[in-house]
């Protein structure tokens, strides 16, 4: 069920109506759990069992870890959880990727290579990471294992952030269960405002850009260099508005129901270097990777060379997390190299002070970072290396032959995106707010809905991050 679809609005209306009638706190949690599983089962009910299976294992393992006193036993239980979570990921997400990657080797040895018909469960990367982080937190002693299976199941399956994040940790979600009150008008209003912002990003910005991006990436050789540049820039905006739109909708839904989710984006394209970019882009994933992968690998405590290796390993796995394809691995590797290079120069030169070098240097840093991010998006978006190669060669060598397509709506959205980012810089990262408490805001809302109705392309456009 896509947040921007008609059936989701019906679903949400029913959920809010039921919750408003239920007075008992336990019953409200039960309702949320049931509707969360209904939400997931709407896509494919069979995978509800898979999700519940991993939930149950992690719930039991976390309790075992807490009660076990011997470090070796605790470690063994942690290992069991990691194997079960990563095993599910490997089987459902990466099995065909591994088989396909090994195919040439196996075929040369005369082994027939099968292609398994495995359906990728929606949101598997998100809920396994979320569940895994809970067990690791319990192992580290930074979180107490919950004794309530229902609460833990709801934490894993909570429908607003189930399929595409933000990745919420147990330490952020479970304590909120203690303050889970009936629906409040103030929460509903604040949540609605955030949800509308996300819906606008998705329906008006991301979906409009998709109309332009998809045909160009399908046949990059047929278009002019300028068209390819424009399409890659449009994709950069599309993926940002698609994902941050989803996140806003998830945060808004959580708020309507009385939960606070962490922020996932802070205007990433205003970053002046790649490290800053990763502090602003998909923050819950990058902080997850930092806390549960980079730091356990040794982080920056084991010497300079080891730090770079750790960075590379983290980003390679981060790339692979996005999808079972070598293009994602290359995307992650490029970011890993860039982060290592940036770290190397920062350490040699020392951290730069704010305003150092003035506006020209800031502009140069911004442009360098932005172009680098654009180039890496080519790998992220391309279905294979051949597409990426053609796209990059079109971008690198000015080639005026080809279809000239300067999509009016895409250019308009890009101009708006630039203005919104500039306004964010001027307003200290704050996004424009629709305060429904003011009468004028209703005119703004009506105008916004009118613009969406007029210009948003209709059709089933799933969120890009659903496939991860």
């Amino acid at each position: 069920m896509i947040f921007s679809s008609f059936e989701f609005f019906v679903f949400l209306g029913l959920v809010l109506a039921i919750l408003s009638q239920v007075r008992d706190e336990g019953a409200r949690r039960n309702v949320l759990l049931v509707v969360s599983y209904l939400f997931y089962g709407w896509w494919d009910w069979r995978f509800c069992f898979l999700m519940f299976g991993t939930t149950l294992i992690d719930y039991l393992v976390a309790r075992r870890i807490e009660t076990a006193s011997a470090p070796r036993r605790r470690r063994a239980w942690l290992l069991a959880s990691l194997i079960s979570n990563l095993g599910v990921l490997v089987i459902f997400k990466y099995m065909n990727f591994f088989i396909g990657s090994l195919a040439p080797l196996l075929q040369s040895a005369g082994i027939e290579v099968p292609h398994l018909k495995i359906i990728l469960p929606v949101g598997i990367s998100f809920f396994t990471f979320q569940s895994m982080s809970y067990v690791i937190d319990v192992y580290r002693g930074s979180l107490r294992a919950t004794r309530n299976l229902r609460d833990f199941t709801l934490f894993v399956a909570f429908f607003p952030q189930l399929v595409a994040g933000p990745i919420v940790r147990g330490s952020e979600f479970l304590p909120q269960m203690d303050y889970f009150h009936p629906l409040k008008c103030s929460n509903l209003q604040a949540g609605m405002e955030t949800f509308i912002r996300g819906f606008t990003k998705k329906a008006l910005f991301a979906d409009t850009l998709a109309v332009y991006v998809d045909p160009v990436f399908a046949h990059p050789a047929a278009y002019t260099s300028l068209t390819c540049w424009l399409a890659v820039t449009a994709y950069a905006a599309q993926i940002y508005y698609d994902f941050s739109g989803y996140t806003d909708m998830a945060i808004g839904l959580g708020r309507m129901l009385g939960f606070e989710f962490p922020v996932n984006f802070r205007h990433p394209y205003r970053s002046l270097n790649i490290t800053e970019f990763w502090r602003r882009w998909h923050i819950t994933l990058s902080s997850w990777l930092r806390d549960y992968l980079y730091i356990p690998l040794g982080g920056n405590r084991s010497g300079r060379a080891r730090t770079y290796v750790n960075l590379m390993a983290t980003m390679l796995l981060g790339g692979l997390w996005h999808g079972a394809s070598w293009t994602f691995v290359v995307w992650g590797a490029l970011h890993g190299v860039a982060l290592a290079v940036h770290k190397f120069f920062t350490e040699r030169r020392g951290p730069s002070r704010a305003g150092e070098g003035g506006l020209p240097q800031a502009l140069l840093s911004w442009a360098g970072t932005f172009v680098f991010v654009l180039i890496t998006w080519v790998f992220f978006r391309s279905s294979d290396f051949d597409t990426a190669r053609v796209m990059l060669s079109k971008m690198a060598f000015f080639d005026p032959s080809g279809v000239r397509w300067y999509h009016v709506q895409a250019i308009t959205v890009l101009v708006l995106a630039v203005l919104l980012h500039v306004s964010a810089v001027l307003r200290g990262d704050r996004s424009p707010r629709l305060d429904l408490g003011r009468p004028l805001a209703w005119s703004g809302l009506a105008a916004l809905l009118l613009v969406i109705l007029l210009f948003a392309p209709f059709g089933s456009n799933p969120f890009i991050y659903f496939q991860f």
């Binding site: 045909p215 279809v403 999509h407 009118l450």
Partner: protein
């Protein structure tokens, strides 16, 4: 002094009215026109004379209908040396390009003394072309009839046939005139009229209809059925209904019964980005070509010209900067090519 809540409500309502008013103005002026179709006993619906139409969903044009309710100049007086009647759908109507750039205007420019009466309207099908010729032909007195067809006419012909069945030549007028104008209860009719005169409501209703269609498809797919849009797409590439020869014979027979030379113009869709730039639905192209050959009609098919122009300039002859290049309706360079082919055919036919 009104209580604060009442003032708040008034402020909200005033703001909403202002936004809706501004929306209506902007849409009407620059984006889309209100629904102009008038129910008509003869053709189902017609357009009013001298109506301003803004089209922006694909290409852009602001156009006005003539006294006959057609997207064309007024009939020339005195009657020109050669008058052709173009029967077609949205490809002839060509709201995507300025009127002077559509293929009928291009042909008029290239053939001195030629007037093409462009009766093309969106949604018309060949069955209705025959009706139009039988009803308006005596008044327009064309020397030549141009029938424009496209791949979508296959479904249109079948639908039309299922609705009307075989109709012998020159009975359409009497047949359809017996149908009464659709009548609505008075308040409903008034409300409907009010809604139809608003560009904003027209656009909103149109979008909601599409939203509902999309939702139906999504639900069908969710419950294991093939969504209607996918089923329609699958049927495009499938074999043609065997009744089609009979249906086209009947419909075109009525057009040929007017006793004027007939030129058949086929509008192809090309897969511009596939190797060799093939026609998307070759079975449909062959169907219309076969008919023209059987009846010794002049057949215009710009596929080869579109292909060679694409190879030369890399610009597809379908699509616009505000839609998807390579798909949809024909753009201005495409109309230029088609107009040139039509002009040559007219000269050859009337020599």
């Amino acid at each position: 002094m009104a209580p604060p809540n009442t003032r708040r409500l008034i402020a909200v309502l005033a703001g909403l009215v202002l936004v809706l008013g501004a929306g209506e103005f902007v849409i009407r002026q620059w984006l889309e026109s209100p629904s102009l179709a008038i129910p008509d006993a003869r053709f189902g619906w017609v357009l009013p004379p001298h109506a301003r139409v803004v089209h922006s969903s694909e290409g852009y044009s602001v156009s006005t209908t003539n006294a006959l309710g057609l997207f064309d100049d007024e009939l020339r007086t005195p009657r020109p040396r050669l008058r052709a009647l173009l029967l077609g759908d949205s490809y002839s109507e060509a709201l995507q390009v300025p009127r002077k750039q559509n293929f009928s205007s291009v042909a008029e420019r290239l053939v001195p003394g030629l007037e093409v009466v462009n009766s093309g309207l969106s949604g018309r099908s060949p069955g209705e072309y025959a009706d139009y010729l039988e009803l308006e032909g005596p008044r327009l007195e064309p020397d030549l009839v141009i029938v424009q067809v496209n791949d979508g006419d296959i479904e249109d012909l079948l639908r039309w046939w299922d609705l009307h069945g075989p109709r012998p030549a020159s009975t359409a007028a009497g047949d359809v005139r017996r149908q009464a104008n659709p009548r609505f209860p008075r308040p409903a009719a008034m409300a409907r009229q009010a809604f139809r005169s608003s560009a904003l409501i027209t656009v909103v209703v149109r979008r909601f209809r599409r939203l509902i269609e999309d939702q139906r498809g999504r639900l069908a797919s969710r419950f294991g059925r093939v969504p209607p849009a996918e089923a329609a797409e699958a049927s495009l590439a499938g074999p043609l209904d065997p009744r089609l020869d009979l249906i086209l014979d009947n419909v075109m027979g009525r057009i040929e019964a007017a006793g004027k030379p007939v030129i058949l113009v086929y509008i192809p869709h090309l897969d511009y980005f596939a190797p060799g730039c093939p026609v998307q639905l070759p079975a449909r192209q062959a169907f219309f070509r076969r008919y023209a050959r059987r009846h010794q009609l002049v057949f215009i098919d710009p596929s080869d010209e579109f292909r060679s122009e694409f190879e030369r300039t890399h610009q597809p002859r379908h699509g616009f900067q505000n839609s998807v290049m390579g798909s949809g309706h024909i753009n201005a360079p495409g109309h230029e090519v088609l107009g040139g082919l039509l002009a040559r055919a007219i000269v050859a036919e009337t020599r």
